[in-house]
């Protein structure tokens, strides 16, 4: 496990948490949306995380000096993380009686997204804290690298 691999994993973790925050924000913003491009009310987004192999050193992570630190990422098992945003399938929506609403059905009920603002707020906080945890892991790795560079100086 090289220090650069830790940087990559932390980076992927931060990206994943950003996507979770994105989904939560989207859910909050569309908590009352009754019209979507695919028809019907908005359906809440959820983020599914899965492990993924580390990227082979690409544009942002390659420098010749680093080749000292980077192990070959090819063929290594998945240790990073990737996030996929999915639409919650079980979402039925909440029916509210509002005959004056343009999107009300024949009986006068409007289907609203079943977004729970409280749940989304908790998701938001959880994503922010997890992001911070990744930042801390990154900083720790960098401190270790700095300490290694200072070996033998004292």
């Amino acid at each position: 496990m090289s220090l650069s691999a830790i940087f990559q994993i932390a980076s992927q973790g931060m990206t994943a948490q950003r996507q979770r925050l994105e989904a939560a924000t989207s859910n909050l913003a569309n908590a009352n949306t009754t019209r979507t491009a695919e028809g019907g009310p908005y359906r809440r987004r959820d983020v599914v995380l899965e492990t993924m192999p580390l990227e082979t050193p690409g544009s942002s992570f390659n420098s010749p000096f680093e080749s000292l630190l980077v192990e070959s990422a090819a063929g290594s098992p998945g240790r990073g993380v990737s996030a996929t945003t999915v639409v919650a399938e079980e979402a039925q929506g909440i029916k509210r009686f509002d005959p004056g609403h343009p999107d009300a059905d024949a009986e006068g009920y409007v289907t609203l997204p079943d977004v729970d603002p409280l749940e989304e707020t908790v998701n938001m906080l959880s994503a922010a804290r997890a992001f911070e945890a990744n930042v801390t892991a990154f900083n720790t790795a960098k401190e270790m690298a700095r300490a290694s560079l200072k070996l033998g100086e004292a």
Binding site: S11, S60, S63, P64, F65, A145
Partner: protein, 103 residues
Amino acid sequence: MSINAVNSFAVQTPLTPDRMGDAAAGANKSGSSFGSAVRDAVESLERSQKGAETEIARAVAGESPDLHRTIISLQTADLSFQLGLQVRNKLIGAYEEIMRMQV
């Protein structure tokens, strides 16, 4: 540039009298000389700084979706620079040590 290049410099050019002329004359031999070791180090540092520069340019142009990727590449370039600096210090230290030698 790799540490191996520095190692091979040490191994391939022991300072025995018959090899000293070789080392001085063959300065352009496949990365084994002191001069090319330093030059390789500086060139690779420049490349890592350029990589960070590209990331910043992408972030400023709005092409990079993740701010943290930019910052991480900056930090990585910083670490590479620190590593290069340490290697340079060691190389220059060795050079000065040799230059101070009484003949």
